[in-house]
């Protein structure tokens, strides 16, 4: 296929801009979404990606904080959620389906194995009353804000 040189040039300029914009977006927004998946065995390691994207949204409401994580293809029982004061720890194992074997694979872009991600929260939350639900490959966790402790006053020392 032959194309005029000018068109090729503008194509490559556009492509470069596209790539650079992409890297900026990646750095600014999603670098923490890249999550390491530790394969269960050596053969699993060769048939899946080691890094996956655990895209997460966090939203803050009047009395609660909500976290939504994209975890397609998991079993509810393979997921674990821990609520800490200022963060949420989500861990689990994404397993291959039974029909997956090395010889049958043609394209492997998905990541499998054990993973964990700590998501920082904008304020203090409490595990009491926290609700977690896994639906359509999305884990949703809603945590009430912790208002139990009044702000601590700090004595100002000086000479």
């Amino acid at each position: 296929m032959s194309r005029p040189t000018t068109e090729q040039h503008s194509d490559s300029t556009r492509a470069w801009q596209w790539l650079m914009n992409g890297w900026h977006a990646l750095r600014d927004k999603a670098v923490s979404a890249l999550t390491y998946f530790s394969p269960a065995s050596e053969s699993d390691a060769t048939t899946s990606q080691r890094w996956g994207v655990l895209a997460t949204d966090v939203s803050e409401h009047k009395d609660s904080v909500s976290v939504e994580l994209e975890l397609p293809g998991m079993k509810k029982t393979d997921l674990s959620v821990e609520v800490h004061e200022h963060s949420l720890l989500v861990s689990g194992e994404k397993r291959f389906s039974a029909t997956r074997n090395e010889g049958s694979l043609r394209v492997t872009e998905r990541a499998f194995g054990k993973f964990q991600r700590v998501i920082p929260l904008p304020c203090k939350v409490t595990s009491a009353g926290t609700q977690a639900e896994y639906k359509k490959g999305v884990l949703s966790v809603t945590m009430p804000k912790d208002r139990s402790r009044s702000p601590r006053s700090i004595e100002v020392r000086g000479q």
Binding site: A15, W18, L19, N21, G22, W23, H24, A25, L26, K29, A30, S32, A33, L34, S48, Q49, W51, G52, V53, A55, T56, D57, V58, S59, E60, H61, S66, E68, E70, L71, P72, G73, M74, K75, S97, T99, R100, S104, L105, R106, V107, T108, E109, R110, A111, I119, P122, K136, G137, V138
Partner: protein, 142 residues
């Protein structure tokens, strides 16, 4: 000899900018901000069919469109962000919204007739029967 068993030639994706730059590392889908994005797929052989598994978390079946036309399989869809949340409520936003599309050249022997698709736990499964392996086509010599 089965030519289509060569992994590289089985499912050529014909729109896949820069995917090769990153080799097997970073999926190209993360590299665009507002453009059309590309969810990760696995493709495997299973019982005389090709099976595409595409990650589509949060998608309803009606949000996804699977279409085969002239040996090209197109999977596309869009997810509008949930309306009950206000934009200013977000303190972190990594999930993609908007449109995704992936296209694949179907290998010889695949017909668009009996393609099945279903969504389960946020993964789209598309099964494409491959008639070539079950019934070799005889070529008449004139």
């Amino acid at each position: 000899m089965n030519l289509i068993d060569k992994p590289s030639s089985v499912f050529d994706e014909f729109y896949r900018p820069f995917g090769s730059l990153f080799g097997s590392g970073l999926p190209s889908r993360m590299l665009t901000e507002n453009d059309i994005w590309m969810p990760a797929v696995d493709i495997k052989r299973e019982d005389g069919s090709y099976v595409i598994e595409m990650e589509a978390p949060g998608f309803k079946p009606e949000d996804i469109d699977v279409e085969a036309h002239e040996n090209v399989l197109t999977i596309q869809g869009s997810r509008s962000s949930e309306t009950e949340k206000k934009e200013q409520d977000y303190v972190r936003r990594e999930r993609r919204t908007g449109q995704f599309v992936r296209r694949f050249n179907l290998p010889n022997g695949c017909t668009s007739d009996d393609i099945e698709a279903q969504v389960k736990d946020g993964v789209l499964h598309v099964r494409i029967p491959d008639t070539q392996t079950s019934e070799p086509k005889k070529i008449a010599i004139s």
